[in-house]
Symmetry: C2
DNA sequence: CTGCATCCTCTTCGATACTG
DNA sequence: CAGTATCGAAGAGGATGCAG
């Protein structure tokens, strides 16, 4: 009975399944397409692996997630049809958050790894040259070991996020504060304005630089009209 | 930082506000129209008053709830526009729960006071005679002090739920198990079928008895097609 | 009755380290 | 790579008390 609300109401039943700590974010990761334990971890980096494992088991028991052994000792996690039907709810929560939560509160939770992980999922390859492109992001205000990140966009193999130097020729350097890049990603600021105010500096292939607002696929909520400050 | 997910993602920000324990149910109560502390308590009877008070304060600070002094030492709690916009999310959660949570799990959480409180909100007066009507519900399988409940429907003053005998002439007695009445309310069973299988017995004004399925306004989720058992 | 505040116990979460 | 094990701290629930 512990953890249960003791209510037959379907809202209460759903809340028991969906509103445990971290669970909505975990479902977000699954909806975004992550299937492996360590990919999921990258999306919820501050969640302990113990708790992640526990939540996945709970979601499986609740019929939201199913697993498949893809190799010895290696599982993948996917959403069941019941889990897929959570998409409008999770996205609805995001839309509400974008509309009503003060943007300052969001910008108090900066995280470069998380931002790069999101950007690697949103990046569009069509506006980029039809070859492998290496984009380097430099967050000047961070301690040195968290300053540099790379996105590799390859027309064949897709987009990859690198937290250590891949050792390739860099096509574009984007230097800014982590806050600036996060604000751009969230739709609070445009590339144009950031450059114009000297908050963002682009160095490298001019063709790629001018298209940045296009290939940088923003947060799914970036276009939602804000009501809160 | 405790309680925070440390993520700028709007889903995370919304989750921090909305997915604290009891909070979705509390918002449900506010959406249903309860404004007073003790009315809210009736909707979340197993929540301690301390925690209820704390959650209301948190929601006020988050801009979901505002308060107004309506008398000395008496506040009312209402949803702000931001809170009103949570309706599709909370109702969506209920719809998901109705579709995908096993009905047996819901029926493990029977609660007569909660059921009567819900029924008093859903009851429709149009199908009833145009006078004050007293409906008594008798849950035979419960200990004596939780067997009897009353709904008073008055065309002028609305519907009232009574947990103690109001001492009026009863127009209709409905005798059944708590489980049966809950299943009917949730749309898992019809009045017709329950009577036919001997699970529900109606005594009193025939005119009111035959209209029961109509004046008994079911759960808002009763009509949603179930996918789980 | 309404609207909390306090005290205490029990559970859960997070941090960190460790294993097949 | 894919998780378990351990332990201290924070948080929830229950009982009770109290002011207006």
């Amino acid at each position: 009975m512990r953890g249960s609300y003791g209510q037959f109401c379907p809202i209460a039943m759903a809340t028991e399944v969906l509103c445990a700590r971290w669970t909505p974010l975990l479902i977000r990761e699954l909806l975004c397409g992550s299937t492996r334990f360590n990919d999921l971890r990258r999306g919820v980096p501050r969640m302990s692996p113990t708790l992640l494992s526990k939540r996945l088991t709970e979601l499986e028991k609740a019929g939201v997630v199913y697993t498949r052994e893809i190799a010895k000792g290696t599982k993948e996690y996917r959403l069941t049809p019941a889990g897929q039907e959570l998409r409008p709810l999770i996205m609805g929560m995001g839309a509400w958050g974008q509309r009503w939560v003060e943007s300052e509160l969001s910008l108090n939770n900066l995280d470069p790894e998380l931002l790069i992980w999101d950007m690697h999922r949103g990046l569009k390859i069509e506006p980029l040259p039809e070859r492998r492109v290496c984009l380097q992001f430099v967050f000047l205000n961070l301690p040195e070991h968290r300053q540099n990140y790379w996105l590799l966009a390859d027309p064949n193999s897709g987009v990859e996020a690198c937290y250590v130097d891949p050792g390739l020729d860099v096509d574009l350097y984007a230097a800014c504060s982590l806050r600036t890049m996060t604000a751009i990603w969230m739709g609070l600021l445009t590339v144009q304005k950031a450059i114009h105010h000297g908050q963002l500096e682009l160095t490298g292939t001019q063709e790629i630089a001018t298209q940045m607002q296009d290939w940088l696929g923003l947060s799914p909520f970036a276009s939602i009209e804000r009501q809160a400050g």
